[in-house]
Amino acid sequence: MLITIKYFGQIVEATQKEEESLEFSGTLVSELMEQLYKKYASLERKDFKVAQNQELVSLETQVSGKEIALLPPFAGG
C-alpha cells in the first residue's frame, strides 16, 4: 500500500522533508512508525501525535488511510 506521509514543525528537522510517499506492507500505525524510526534515526526522540486522514489515531489503529501526518506539540495562538 502506498501512503502519503506529512511531517510538520520540528518533525521536519528529523526527516528533512515535509512529505513523502512510502510503500507500507504492515497493518498497524505502530508498524508504520517502526519503519519510519529505522529510516530517520532522530525521529524516535521527537514528541508527536499521529493523524490519519486528519483525525488523531492511536498506535493500535489500522493503517487504512491515504494520508498519515506526524504532528508535534500544538502551539496555536
Binding site: 493523524a51 486528519q54 501526518a69 506539540p73 500544538f74 495562538g77
Partner: protein, 147 residues
C-alpha cells in the same frame, strides 16, 4: 448564525490592528448584539537562556486545522447563544508585539460571551495542529509548546 462551510482561518503574517477595528465596525449594523468579546494572542519577546524571541514562525497542517476550527465553531454555536463568531490565525512569521490570533464573539447578552470566548480559545490551543518556531534575535530557534 452557524455556517456550514469550512472557512480558511489562516492569514499570512501578523493580524493588523486596523483589521480588528474594521471588523468591530462591521458589526455595528447588527443591532441585536449587546456584547462583544475579543481575544488577541500577541507574540511575546520572551527571554530564554539570555536570548530574546524576535518572532514566531507559524506553520499548520492547514486542512486539518481548518476542519478543527470549524468543529470548534460549530460546538460553540451549539453550546452558547451567539450572534456571530470570527477566528483568524497567522501563518508565517509574526514579530514580537504583533497579533497572531484574533477570536471575536458577539451575543445579545454579556454573560454568554465570556464563557464562549474562553471555550473557543482553550479548544484552539488544545486541538488545532498549528506549530510555532520561536526565532531568537541571533537567528537560532526553539519550538513553542502550548501550556
Amino acid at each position: 448564525m452557524a455556517d456550514k462551510k469550512v472557512k480558511n482561518v489562516f492569514r499570512q503574517g501578523a493580524i493588523p490592528s486596523h483589521f480588528i477595528g474594521e471588523s468591530i465596525y462591521k458589526h455595528q449594523t447588527k443591532t441585536s448584539i449587546g456584547a462583544h468579546n475579543i481575544f488577541l494572542g500577541q507574540v511575546r519577546a520572551d527571554i530564554i537562556d539570555n536570548k530574546t524571541v524576535a518572532a514566531i514562525e507559524y506553520t499548520a497542517y492547514e486542512d486539518m486545522a481548518n476542519a478543527k476550527f470549524h468543529e470548534i465553531r460549530e460546538a460553540a454555536f451549539e453550546k452558547f447563544e451567539l450572534t456571530c463568531m470570527h477566528i483568524y490565525h497567522s501563518l508565517g512569521p509574526v514579530k514580537a508585539g504583533e497579533i497572531c490570533l484574533f477570536v471575536f464573539v458577539s451575543s445579545p447578552r454579556r454573560k454568554v460571551v465570556f464563557k464562549a470566548l474562553e471555550f473557543i480559545v482553550e479548544a484552539i490551543k488544545a486541538d488545532v495542529p498549528v506549530f510555532g518556531k520561536e526565532i531568537f534575535e541571533d537567528e537560532s530557534h526553539q519550538w513553542k509548546v502550548n501550556s
